[in-house]
Symmetry: C2
Subunit: 138 residues, 2 copies
Amino acid sequence: MTEKTSDILKENNLRVTSCRRDVLATFIGKKVALSHADLEEELKENFDRVTIYRTLKTFLDSDLIHKVLDDSGTTKYALCAHDHDEAHHDHEHVHFKCEVCGNTNCIQELNLPKILLPEGYISKETSLLVQGICKNCS
Amino acid sequence: MTEKTSDILKENNLRVTSCRRDVLATFIGKKVALSHADLEEELKENFDRVTIYRTLKTFLDSDLIHKVLDDSGTTKYALCAHDHDEAHHDHEHVHFKCEVCGNTNCIQELNLPKILLPEGYISKETSLLVQGICKNCS
DNA sequence: GTTTATGCAAATTCTTTGCAATACT
DNA sequence: AGTATTGCAAAGAATTTGCATAAAC
């Protein structure tokens, strides 16, 4: 895992630091979208709150993670699927948020349906969030 | 308008107060999703910041407004479409956020395509957010 | 008259910034 | 060695809570 995270960081021209490796490892380990608070909870023994904020910003800028829409007020993030598969553009995300366990995950099985916008609108990015009850909680 | 907003409040078993009427009128007037900051800007002469927070919470609880997904960090709200039209359930929201003017509006013309979730998932609410450039800004 | 909403102050929580010390390449 | 990252302190936003006063029913 140490190697894997280091490699990912290097590929993205980021310096390899233990905070970045640990944050990345947490995203890989848990397969759900994480908020800053989730990461802080997980890593507070090791790193400062502020460093985690900066790590998230760095990862966002490098397109390593993306924001996941959420109506809870706190921003959540998830790894970008860097499969260079033309089928789903990496900017099209279908997420499912379970109202029982609170977890949000990416549903890879689903492709975003094509949306036909009214005349004059230009679409750059589309996100779909389904809220309900997940497989584990139902 | 005073009558209209009063009626809406009464229908929802809420006391009619001037703050509630003004917040409601603002939502009806501007047709875009509004954040607390937007409302505060509009109404700060008349009402306290805190009262606006509490009004938003009250309206959410009464299902008069709903949260609009947004990746900006601040929560936005919009009126619930209380048309008892079977075509769009009130639990399906399609919003468009313009990255130029920053406005988010509900696109009523669009119906959400049916999403077929994997086995075991139960859907309660679906939100689609398209980001791009709106008719006015393109 | 009773209940609920408001304003103000203050407490919390969330996020960002500055800067010296440290770690990475 | 040179540059970027971290931790700490502190500033700045965003949001919530408590309580006495005022307004709604």
